[in-house]
Symmetry: C2
Subunit: 199 residues, 2 copies
DNA sequence: CCGTTGTTTACCGTAACCGACAAAAGTCGG
DNA sequence: CCGACTTTTGTCGGTTACGGTAAACAACGG
């Protein structure tokens, strides 16, 4: 039940509606944790059933009434209990790694373009993190505990993206060097046989 | 269907039984991708249904008969098709990050011990990667494409663990500096109220 | 009039996770 | 020698998580 706890964590900042939470999960923590609005609404119902959050209905004319969710004391305690448990180190689970593992059985050109796309992607994200860091923490230091958490988060994000970007570059270089060495020895059969999986 | 493709990728090396695959997912790719034997067996059935792999039954006296799975040409093609598609950059999804995001609403001591545990964990894994790297690639270079993939994999793993380990250290330092600053201002209510969630 | 923003909910499918069971042989303790 | 436990090889069922499509329904913009 990690998504539920993520939501509880978000609600410690301020009460929010499901819609706002969904947008939050599209920006700040969303960099680390993806969740679309359906998941969030479902999780909110569960949390409400458990008494961890409380929804205050705000009548709106025109739009459907919105539900502003607030953490209950039980919710706070539950979050603290959860946070007091040891975290489980996640695995990387990047498709790219599987491709690399079977590098000799697949086509290299698509991997190259993929690596280039990924390089760009991770560089963008890295820049984004650095930008936010410079704006929110120009001194590089945090004043209180809440800020410290966010500073650390951003730093981890930045480093992670940097690391992966560097890796992509290195992989591209290595592939170039390699394809210079054994040109034509691999599987160079073209892939476009018309049949594509829909999944 | 990423697990299925991971299995196909493993079977490019050599034909294997479900049991062997499960052990493989406990060591080499298992560093990046976790899957227990039940998941693997079910995925194997699916792959067989689709004609991507073929099981050859080997009668054993004593033990139950084992099924050695081999990639079919269709399986190879499917894998190549899959590998030719762009990969999706995964999100980090580490519980620790959620804890950090709500750092001012939780207890800091458990986080410290957690960070210390994680530091040790990631250092161990880092050493492990470096050990394997030194053993398999003492020159730091790969001879063929298959080796290149594995070399890159190991390097990414090593860097990742290093990065996270560094982060843990930094976080611990920052927490120490912070707790020196605002001692006693946070929530210092003890957590042991006896009630623990079972989940 | 059609598309987008705001807000929430419903249904359905797949993927992943987790715990138990089965069956037969090998190993260890008493 | 009997029982308990582990290894090897699988199967079954349940729950959580994830993802997509879409349906309400009003207002606002072009």
């Amino acid at each position: 039940m990690a998504l539920g706890d993520a939501i509880l964590a978000c609600l410690t900042e301020r009460p929010m509606t499901g819609y706002e939470l969904a947008k939050t999960f599209d920006s700040s923590i969303g960099f680390f944790w993806k969740a679309d609005h359906q998941q969030i609404y479902r999780e909110l119902s569960k949390l409400r059933d458990r008494g961890y959050i409380q929804g205050r209905e705000v009548v709106q004319t025109g739009k459907p009434n919105k539900l502003i969710y607030t953490l209950t004391p039980e919710g706070r305690t539950a979050l603290r209990h959860w946070a007091a448990r040891p975290s489980t180190p996640p695995s990387i689970k990047d498709d790219l790694l599987i491709r690399l593992h079977a590098l000799d059985s697949i086509d290299i050109e698509p991997i190259r373009t993929d690596l280039m796309d990924r390089l760009e992607h991770h560089r963008d994200r890295h820049e984004n993190y650095e930008r936010i860091l410079k704006k929110r923490f120009p001194e590089g230091t945090a004043s209180d505990v809440l800020d410290l958490g966010n500073l650390l988060l951003l730093r981890l994000g930045a480093r992670h993206e940097q690391m992966v970007a560097d890796f992509c570059e290195e992989a591209l270089d290595a592939l170039s060097a390699m394809s210079g060495k054994d040109k034509g020895t691999g599987t160079v059969v073209p892939l476009d046989d018309g049949k594509r999986e829909k999944g």
